[in-house]
Structure formats: structure tokens, C-alpha cells
Amino acid sequence: MLGGLNTIIARDLRLSMRRRGDVLNHLVFFVIVVTLFPLGVGPEPALLRTMAPGILWVAALLAAMLSLQRLFAADFADGTLEQMLISAHPLGVIVVGKTIAHWLLSGLPLTLLAPILGLQFDLPQKALGVLTLSLAIGTPVLSLIGGVGAALTLGVRGGGVLLALLVLPLYVPVLIFGTGGVGAVLSGMSPSAHLSLLGACLAISCVVGPLATGAALRLACD
């Protein structure tokens, strides 16, 4: 079973390395969107500090969503998805593998970029740490929930917009707890409650996400 997981992760990473543009697109999008705000709002440190968690998190949500459409679309188009549905490995393992690969290519780089971009907003060191931690817990949730949306919109015309309409409302709790944690540090409180709730979101989506994604993939190929 672990062999199947490794195969899928290694395959998706290798495919992405052969199409580097696709991976870099949403990271560049993230960097540019976040950078536009300090330029547009002006150099007011107090204002920037209050806005920072929201801007970084919303930009991360949108960047993660941009990369979702590719999650299953190519495999669906060329018939690989059929082979995955009747693979010797359980579909859940394949979905988890693809989700991990998606996170390694979108969530992880976003998490690593965030503290550097946070400097533009004059965030104190402790807030930067919590921001990174909240993204590290929160971005896997984005990949897990996003996978369900990506599977449901497979083969649908105008799937991109529909995907956003499906997935963005489900991202709201992650956004609230993620920004809340950083906000709490900025106002001198402990972020642990927000981070715990974020962890709960991760635990729930770990269980529900792959099951729902698998069921949606079977529907898409029926």
C-alpha cells in the first residue's frame, strides 16, 4: 500500500518537474498579489500589520485554488484516471498520494514563502512564526478540500468558476482560524486556540476529503 502511495507521489512530482511553468505560475501569482497591497495601501506600518494576516491568507487560498484545476484534469483527459480507478491499489491511497503531491507543490512552497513576504508588512518575528505554522497546518486542508471540488468539476464546462464557487465557501473556516491565530499574536494573546481549531479542521478533512474525492472521481468516470 505504501508502495502505491510512493509511486503516485513520485509520478506527480516528476510530471510537475517536466512542466515547471505550471508549478511556478501560482507561486508567482501569490508573490505578486501579496506585494501589490503594500504598494497600493501605502507605507503605514500599523495599518499594514493589521491587514497582513488577511492578505497573506486570502492570497494563499486563491493561489492554492488556481493550482487545483490541474489536480485531476490531465489524468482525466488522457485516460490515466480510468487506470487509477481500476488499479491494484485502493482508490483512497491514490487520492491521498495525489493530494500529498499537490500540497508539496503548492501548499509547502506557499508556507515557505509567506514569512519572507510577511516582512513587507512589518510583521514582528513571533507573528511571522505563527503565520508560517498556521499555513503549515492550514494548507493541507486546502489541498484536501480542494481535491473534492476538483473531482466534482471534472469534465464540466466552465469548471474553473464552478470550482471556485464550490471550494471557496468551504475554505472560510481555515481562513478565519488561520488569520485569527496571527491576529491574536499581534494583539498580545496566545494563538493556541486558533491553531488547535485549525488542527481540528485538518483532522476532519483528512478523514472526509479522500473518501469524498474518491466517490466524486468514480462518478466523473461513470
Binding site: G3, G4, A77, E82, I86, S87, H89
Partner: protein, 206 residues
């Protein structure tokens, strides 16, 4: 091995076929024939477990395939219309991944041999985007060389886009599989000379 009874298939509002029955045993070849749109591919996808029948049951060694899932998938090799070949990967890498998905990892030497047998030895390291349609089909079919122990092969138009020599090679592989006691279900618009010990044909849409 495979028992199908009372099978019905609907696409949208159209009933493609109903009350379809057949039993496929060791060494059995089932040729599915019929005009375009008569439900050949739908039948193959039903038997492969990719879609659910509107009515009827499909049993593998006495058990429903919907309950067996991976248990059935391990005993099945399905090559559909789509080649499942990634343009970014080479023929060799495509074959390796296709085999691992089937749960039968092969050594690099065995893979090289399979590609040589199917006539792709010289193109094994080239990204698949530089291959022709027929060559991509060969990449997909190369799995047959390494799937001797898989009891059931389901092949949807395996000969499409193949040249005469490659067609002969695939017929040879199918022959060999049937002689070993495997079962094969295939659709084809071409007349092919397969020396099957037991041979059935289903004509759909007539």
C-alpha cells in the same frame, strides 16, 4: 471465471442493451461486435468495473465485482480507448507507471524487453509527445507483454492506429494469453485471426 447475467446498460435516456448474458471461462475469447454507438465500450467499462450497470450482475469467480473492487482489479488488465500515456514522460517511464498501477512492478530489463517486443526499443527514452498515434498505442499495449499472469484482459479497440506488423504482434500476445488459459474480451472493427480454443461473439445493436 466471469459470469454476466441480465446485464443492462443505459447512457442518458437511451437503453443500449438489456438482458445480456455470457460466461467466460479459461482460455475463452469474447469478441464484442457492433456498429458505432451500439454500446461496445460501455459493455467493456461495465465489465471492468468502471461504471455501474442499470440492471444485472457481473461476477468474478462467483463474487460480485463491485464488492471485490481491488481484488478484481488485480486480476484485470484494461486498455481503453484512451492510451493513458503522458506526453511528458518517456515510453519507458509510462510503461513503468502503468505497471505499478496494475500492481506488477517489473525490472528495467523486463520493461526494455517488452518495449523491444512491441517495436519501440529505439524510442524508449523519447518523451511520448514526439511519438505518433500508433506508437503511443504501442506504449499502452506494451503492458500486455508483462501481464501474462493477469487472468482477464479487456481490450477496447486494441488494433486502432496500429500498422500490420504491430497488429500481428498484438494478435500473437492475445493468442499466447488464451493458450495459457487466460480470458480476453476485445472489440475490434477489423477481422483478426486469433486462434482461440473457445470463442464467443456478441453482436450489439443489431
Amino acid at each position: 471465471m466471469l459470469e454476466v447475467s441480465g446485464l443492462a446498460c443505459e447512457r442518458g435516456d437511451v437503453r443500449l442493451f438489456s438482458d445480456l448474458e455470457f460466461v467466460l471461462g479459461e482460455g475463452g475469447l469474447l469478441l464484442v461486435q457492433g456498429p458505432n454507438g451500439s454500446g461496445k465500450t460501455s459493455l467493456l467499462r461495465l465489465v471492468a468495473g468502471l461504471s455501474r450497470p442499470a440492471a444485472g450482475s457481473i461476477r468474478w469467480r462467483g463474487e460480485d465485482i463491485a464488492e471485490l473492487r481491488e481484488g478484481f482489479a488485480r486480476e484485470l488488465l484494461f486498455i481503453g480507448h484512451a492510451n493513458a500515456v503522458k506526453d511528458e514522460l518517456s515510453a519507458e517511464e509510462n510503461l513503468a507507471i502503468a505497471l505499478e498501477l496494475c500492481g506488477r512492478a517489473a525490472t528495467p530489463a523486463a520493461r526494455a524487453q517488452a518495449l523491444e517486443r512491441i517495436g519501440l526499443a529505439a524510442r524508449a527514452r523519447l518523451p511520448a509527445r514526439y511519438l505518433s498515434q500508433g506508437q503511443k498505442r504501442r506504449v499502452a499495449l506494451a503492458r500486455l507483454c508483462l501481464a501474462a499472469e493477469v487472468p482477464l484482459w479487456i481490450l477496447d479497440e486494441p488494433f486502432a492506429a496500429l500498422d500490420a506488423r504491430a497488429l500481428e504482434g498484438v494478435v500473437e500476445l492475445v493468442d499466447g494469453h488464451l493458450a495459457r488459459g487466460g480470458a480476453v474480451i476485445l472489440t475490434s472493427h477489423q477481422e483478426v485471426a486469433i486462434a482461440a480454443p473457445v470463442r464467443y461473439a456478441i453482436a450489439l445493436g443489431i
